[in-house]
């Protein structure tokens, strides 16, 4: 009996101790959640390292962004938020904001103004898509193709609409296994004007038309769920062309030297940035705000582009984008925002998708499994 009591007492103590540890965030530490891989490395180099040097605060990287939405909700329900700052896509930021899992911020109060005095609100401009979202980078979902598989005598594909042209460019394609971007491209390439795409997608006829267009390439398409799949499929020669994030294609082309070309036309612009989880204590909140102010200023955002080919979300950062830190090539031409690449761009309408995602996703998955 005595042993049991002792055992129970010990386990209780351990339990309380571990709980106290989980809660008692060390005063000098901050857990920042991001996507891992090359992306986290770019943030480490551009933001974390200089900040840690400047303040002495230790930043812990957690690579859980892909499951951040669910984990934040679980943490919030358990009343124990262990993350200080989370890197998410804009669409998820809206969801987190709606669910009350992220804090609303006043951009002009929290974020630094541009060096020339332009307010943060103006400098970030349209990228401030939600009250909770602190934009970092502009990336795009666009197409890469095998340069050695282009049929002889044909010009190489230029963009999204070439993916639907099986006669001109035979071979397998890869597309994201969710409706976002695919539905828009389908309508656009079926001759719908850019301005009418979302209006038309709200209607049954519009959706049917998009699915009909996608039907034409359905059996030639491999549907991916992770951003790394298309680069791998391209490298293996498994597909002729496929969509993925432009930074992934950059590393296939510039870092691995694969025979892959970029097709930028109608690239789908997307944003990635920070959200601050709700439920932080005051001192943790103050620390996070200080970090965010530092990490999203004009110079820091421009610095990140040295390590990865995503464009800074601030207008004032664009002129400061220099060469790649190790390859030494100029990064500006690889940015989705470069004028040569951005002749035709599609702006993802996040708020529209916040409404239609559940519905269209169900229809899209039903269509896929047919």
């Amino acid at each position: 009996m005595k042993t049991t009591m002792k055992l129970m007492a010990t386990s209780c103590l351990t339990l309380t101790a571990s709980m106290a540890f989980a809660d008692g965030h060390m005063a000098n530490e901050m857990t920042i959640v991001s996507w891992g891989g090359a992306y986290s490395a770019s943030q480490q180099n551009a933001y974390h390292a200089p900040y840690m040097e400047k303040t002495g605060i230790n930043i812990i990287n957690d690579e859980s962004s892909s499951e951040a939405v669910a984990k934040l909700r679980a943490m919030n329900e358990a009343g124990n938020v262990t993350w200080d700052l989370v890197d998410v896509e804009a669409a998820d930021a809206i969801r987190l904001c709606d669910e009350g899992l992220a804090v609303e911020i006043d951009a002009d109060e929290v974020l630094a103004a541009a060096p020339d005095g332009t307010s943060a609100t103006d400098d970030f401009g349209a990228s401030l898509i939600s009250d909770c979202f602190i934009p970092q980078i502009v990336f795009s979902t666009t197409f890469g193709y095998r340069t050695d598989m282009v049929p002889a005598g044909t010009e190489p594909p230029k963009g999204a609409c070439d993916v639907f042209d099986l006669a001109k460019y035979p071979g397998k394609r890869s597309l994201n296994r969710n409706p976002i971007a695919n539905m828009e491209w389908a309508l656009l390439c079926d001759g719908v004007a850019y301005a009418d795409v979302y209006d038309l997608l709200e209607t049954e006829e519009g959706q049917a038309r998009a699915f009909a267009k996608l039907d034409t390439i359905k059996d030639q398409t491999i549907w991916w769920t992770a951003g790394a799949e298309t680069p791998q499929l391209l490298a293996d020669g498994e597909i002729f062309m496929g969509s993925t994030y432009n930074g992934r294609l950059f590393s296939v082309i510039a870092e691995q030297g694969q025979p892959v070309g970029m097709a930028w036309d109608w690239q789908m612009f997307d944003l990635d940035g920070w959200v601050i989880p709700s439920g932080l204590s005051d001192d943790r909140m103050a620390r996070v705000l200080d970090y965010v102010n530092f990490a999203t200023d004009t110079q820091r955002l421009a610095d990140q582009a040295k390590y990865i080919s995503y464009g800074p979300a601030r207008a004032s950062s664009a002129p400061l984008v220099g060469d790649h830190a190790t390859l030494g090539i100029p990064m500006a031409p690889h940015m989705p925002t470069d004028p040569a690449n951005a002749e035709n761009t599609f702006y993802n309408n996040y708020t529209w998708w916040a409404d239609y995602r559940d519905d269209l996703d169900a229809k899209f998955q039903a269509w896929l499994s047919k």
């Binding site: 009996m1 892909s66 939405v69 969801r95 708020t351 916040a354 409404d355 998955q365 269509w367």
Partner: protein, 505 residues
């Protein structure tokens, strides 16, 4: 009495024995108590909580308490939106929910049922503070300064007679005061009530209630709250929106369960989902069929291997056993990716087949991103779960039985089928249960190699847990899966008998 046996201490033996037994039981219970507690807290409770979400639906009536009550009067099959009183209730609820920041949460919840409600609520939260109802506030305060005095308001609202005269105003004031304390940290007795409280006061005054200080507000042009809401978004005039709110206003709902079997709640009861949204039944059926085929493949492949392992000299058997276990110790993702390299169209197997000349170069086999890929990869991954129980059961079958059968004149086949096989059935049973139950819950492998036709129901559950945050639907799908497994287990018990399952010796 004399026939009762007594213990040494003079008590009846029976009682004494019982006491000793009870003490022993308690001691045993105390010993396992930490584990029991651990399992209950970390395993049973979370699962029960998750399953409970499949019917729980308190968010609607908690966020819009007044509206859901007012809506009871409204007929959900009507073609017109509800009247002004419902909009008045919605005004109070929405103004409060916006301060608590719960309106967007409710919006996301209802958006699962009707597309567009999410942004309707987001917009309404922004617009509800800018209604023209400030004319009421102004009218009262201009007519009598007492209405602009926070302390006066507080004393009225503490007075039972006033509260009895103005129940709606008192209710709005109480809710406003509670919100002020919890959200802003202000003292209600120092703040003038907001427009929605004055709106309630005006509505009651114009209905003839006695005011604490009599003022004449009959000259004020009434503001139609319905029109105000319609100004934010004309969807508020859409009866479909109200139907959704009303249908989902009870605290518990079967909506998630209906949804997970491709049904939905319509205006007149349960109806089928439109054909282009039906997916879950297909996925359930597919998950079952594919899991059964994976199980079958595992038996076919695992049985001979286990037989060889059990009948070889132990030195060789151990070496072979390592070969069975080696993939078991390799990361799941690595094994799945390896199958991609092997099976894809430009992959190793296709290359070899083309090289031999069995397939034409432009007609390579499609072995991945479909059901074939899922079955191959999952059979490989789950094979050890079949081989290990089979092996440990076969190990206990004495080889002499087979020899005896043969010496009595049985052919090889008869000896195997009549003597050996029946003894190995418990191993097959254990292996089948393990493989089947593991495979219906798999989602990483189907996600990576399943393409469009090889994905399982668990992939959708994962999507609803991690992306769409529709945990209610995920919980309903999970509950159905759990019930199916239990049903199959019961059927298995009836046919084979659960006593006939052996995981080893």
């Amino acid at each position: 009495m004399s026939d009762k046996m007594m213990a040494a201490d003079g008590r009846p033996l029976k009682a004494s024995l019982n006491r000793a037994l009870r003490r022993q039981k308690l001691r045993a219970l105390a010993l396992i108590a930490p584990l029991l507690l651990f399992i209950v807290i970390t395993f049973v409770m979370p699962i029960a909580d998750m399953l409970f979400r499949s019917v729980e639906n308190e968010i609607v009536s908690e966020t819009l308490p007044r509206t859901t009550i007012a809506l009871q009067e409204w007929d959900e099959s009507s073609a017109t939106p509800p009247g002004e009183p419902v909009f008045a209730a919605l005004y109070t609820d929405m103004a409060l929910a916006t301060e608590y920041k719960t309106h967007t949460r409710l919006g996301s919840r209802l958006n699962y049922e009707m597309t567009g409600i999410s942004s309707l609520f987001r917009k309404s939260g922004r617009g509800v503070g800018k209604f023209d109802t400030d004319v009421y506030t102004k009218a009262f305060q201009d007519s009598n300064a007492a209405y602009a005095d926070p302390a006066q308001w507080a004393s009225w609202m503490a007075d039972e007679t006033v509260r009895g005269q103005l129940p709606m105003t008192a209710d709005a004031y109480d809710a406003w005061a509670a919100m002020l304390i919890s959200e802003e940290g202000d003292v209600p007795a120092e703040e003038t009530p907001w427009d929605f409280v004055f709106t309630a006061l005006y509505l009651e005054a114009s209905a003839g209630a006695t005011l604490p200080v009599d003022v004449d507000v009959s000259s004020v042009e009434p503001v139609s709250l319905m029109a105000q809401f319609e100004k934010i978004d004309e969807d508020w005039a859409d009866p479909e929106v109200w139907r959704t709110i009303k249908i989902y206003s009870p605290r518990y709902t079967n909506g998630y369960f209906l949804n997970s079997v491709d049904l939905m709640k319509g205006a007149d009861g349960i109806e089928e989902r439109p054909e282009n949204e039906q997916i879950y039944i297909t996925l359930f059926v597919r998950t079952m069929i594919m899991s059964l085929s994976i199980m079958g493949m595992c038996v076919l492949l695992g049985y001979p291997i286990a037989w060889i392992l059990a009948n070889l000299p132990s030195r060789t058997a151990n070496l072979l056993m390592i070969l069975v276990l080696l993939p078991f110790w390799t990361s799941l993702l690595v094994r799945t990716s390896a199958w991609k390299v092997l099976l894809q169209q430009e992959g190793v197997i296709n290359d070899i087949l083309v090289w031999i000349g069995l397939v034409a170069d432009d007609n390579r086999l499609q072995m991945i991103n479909n059901q074939t890929g899922t079955i191959i990869a999952m059979t490989h991954i789950l094979l050890p779960f079949m081989i290990l129980p089979l092996y440990s059961v076969m190990k206990t079958i004495p080889p002499s039985y087979l020899r005896a059968a043969k010496s009595l004149g049985a052919t090889d086949w008869t000896a195997f089928w009549r003597v050996y096989f029946p003894q190995s059935v418990p191993g097959i049973g254990a292996g089948c249960i393990l493989v089947f139950i593991l495979s219906i819950g798999y989602y990483i492998t189907p996600e990576l190699v399943g393409g469009t036709k090889g994905v399982f129901i668990s992939n959708r559950i994962a999507y609803h847990i991690s992306s769409s945050l529709n945990w209610g639907l995920a919980a309903a799908l999970g509950t159905i899966l759990l019930v199916i497994v239990m049903l199959l287990y019961w059927v298995y018990d009836k046919i084979v008998g659960i006593d006939n399952v052996k995981l080893g010796g």
